[in-house]
Amino acid sequence: MRAKVTVLIVMLVGLHGVLLLAGFFAPYDPAAQNRELSYAPPTRLHFKDALEFHLRPFVYASAVVMEGDQRGSYQEGRSREYQVRLFVTGASYKLLGVHESTTHLFGVSEPARIFLFGTDAYGRDEFSRVLFGGQISVAAGIVATVITLFAGSVVGIIAGYYGGWVDELLMGVNELFLSLPWLYFLLGVRAFLPLHLSTLRTFFLLTGVIGLIGWARPARLVRGVVLSSRNRSYVLAGRGFGATDFYLSRRHILPEVFGLLLTQAALLVPRYIAAEVTLSFFGLGVNEPVASWGNMLSTLQQYSVLVSYGWLLAPACALVVTSVLYSSLAELFHSRLKSS
């Protein structure tokens, strides 16, 4: 059990670490177009050339076939090998938004390219875009979750602690929000907002809207816990000694709610990442050329792209992996909550 938790935590930290340091792990600038390399399939890593086996992988430079039956497909030029090297110098980026750097974990020398997940319509490296897009999508999920849980626990604690008409009013509003078809509501809200917004503002609008709509369910759960703990003997005793409402909720009630919030967080993050992906998929999220998993996937709305360029499903795979990790975490939290 403990080993499982450790593995899970390591994997999640690893995932977020890679996304956080996307500039370092990505070999290319996510917005850089290579117009002569559009829809290039993932670059093959070779270990064996005509003569012998190499320990260090290498790649060949690819180019489009211009004529004949294979027109439009890519072919490797076998004349020269390009070794994959570590800590190479490339496009400049800002690490963690502050430190300017040009060092990338891996790369190959030009004219060869290393596209681990292939390229999109403009010849942009899909792997780099998945990493940078993940920054936006996962951050959106986390920020929205924080907003939701904060709003949810404030409302839940107030409603559960005070009861009476406050409770009834808050839970009435709560029910209204629960009954909203939230996806359509989000689409509607986004359509009302101004169209041309900077990436940062779009991002905060998106997370704000997603986060504020989702508070109803956690608020309801928190209220239940508060309601049951409010009449416990130690709370009553504290009140008898003259403790204030604020002290009681901070010292005695919040700790009760904490486990629940953790489980909720682990459940909500992947859901909100999916919400961002859904909105961006419909063109309501961040705009080109900034990547997010949703706007990357939106090209797959075209039938020909969907059936011809399978590697463009990479953001969907990333989304699945992230969701599975978070869901397993939620499962663990949940079982611990039950056993305690």
Partner: protein
Amino acid sequence: MKLIRLALHVCLFSGLCFAAAPAPEAAKPGEELARLADVSGRYGGHLTIGQRSEPKTLNPVTATDAVSREVIGRLMGDLIEINRASQLTEPALAKSWNISADGRTFTLQLRKGVRFSDGYPFDADDVIFSFNVYMDAAVDSPQRDLLIIDGKPIAVTKLDQYTVRFVLPRPYAAAERLFDGLAILPKHLLEKPYHEGHFAQAWPLNVSAAEIAGLGPFRLKQYVPGQRVVLERNPYYWKVDRENQRLPYLDELVFLFVGTEDAQVMRFEAGETDIVSRLSSENYNLLAHEQSRTGSQLADMGPGLEYNFLLFNLNDLGGKKLDEVAVKQAWFRDLKFRQAINVAVDRQSIVRLVYGSRGAALWGNVGPGNKLWVNQALPHPSQSVETARQLLKSAGYSWNATGQLHDSTGRPVEFSIITSSSNSQRMKMATLLQDDLSRLGMQVHVVPLEFRAMIDRVFQSFDYDAAIMGLGGGDADPNPEMNVWTFNGTSHLWHMGETQPTTGWERELDQLMQQQMVTLDYAKRKQFYDRAQQLIADNLPFIFLGTPNILAGANSRVGNFHPAVLDPYTLWNADELYVRGPLMENAGVR
């Protein structure tokens, strides 16, 4: 007896009871048929075509959408037709015509013995009736504008039962091309609704087959809401093939309401439809990959007549509260600014990435697909960021330390390009332009909008900086372009609602367009239009980007499949299409 009636009812309501398609009528003595000397085929079978949506109406006078017109065009006949293959006019219901020396009077001889698809004879009264309807302001037909020249209607008179005279208020170049697309209406069916004042409501999609008749190769058989329109052979059609067999060959033509182009391609791949009228290059390549297995016929007809362009908002914003846009207009009005953008655009990439190399780059409004009218002398400058930077510099722009472009007042150059979110090709162009212009230090935002929202901004509210749009594609002749290039035209997009031309070159352009319209000699008209193209390319009200090739596909069963670069691309010769190989059952029974 009761049982039989019950069975009949079940049969009728389950849609299984279909009468066989009518056999073509034998030629009557004195019937003047049009013989297509190089057409042969065989009778029978049906073909299915996928459509984007349901037609809105079957009324040829009020229909405006392409889907409706695609169906109506098969039901109706015109006096003179434009042959889509040769792009020249040829006799249709008028077997011949002559033009007076001053180019104002057209005398048309009608075919004798022709009958509507319900068997009722056709003569000059139907022609007079039809043109009265088209020119009636109360009916408000979209074709009315074509027939009102200088505010005066064309005068139509009947000389005898088979001769009609049209007198134009002034000479009008290529006036005979106007007749293509003006369907001749059956007076005996439509006179009543017209006089009762509800003509616009006549012939809705659910009209009963007995109440609609035309002079086209097919007639209405059945409409199934949400699914399909079935047309059957018009047994009285007035064209015959090489062996004097009456056309059309097909028993039935079925229009299936399928949805987007992607959905049409999927249906086509599944064998549910036989023809796809327009294909994007991506879908074309997809079908080409499977061609060896499916044997389908794919046609790349080369560049079409459509032109896609970047448009700047040069509208007069007086009275509108659009200060943000007004500030940016100072850049857009600067010719050097537009020239810089014109040379910064990487058109070769547009052709390659947007059209999959099945398209052509454009530097003017007439592309290489329009062989009769393109100005070959227009320069095709290749992309040069260096030239663009010099142009901007000479116009007083400068760059800051991070490479961002500033105008002479120190304002950073930043604007947005709106485009229709449903058009993936224009979305791609916008993204490529964004990258091209970032090399000049311009910060460009791409804003995808729902099509109607975008049209509203361009035509009504003027609340936009720049837009990527497309125009053209109707006829090869310059006259349909009048509404774009004359100052008071309805599609004078860069400066809508002008009361008079604002600049010298716009005044000259206006004059040239008016002159070419009243000049009858082709060589002289070409001179005027060449100069007009030159002016447009020099002054860049639009930055022209590219034009897609006309791509279409049909499966191996379709005979005489000859798509054209003019609309309707594949069905213009629906009367000549036939089915190869084994014939299947009627379309209704599936």
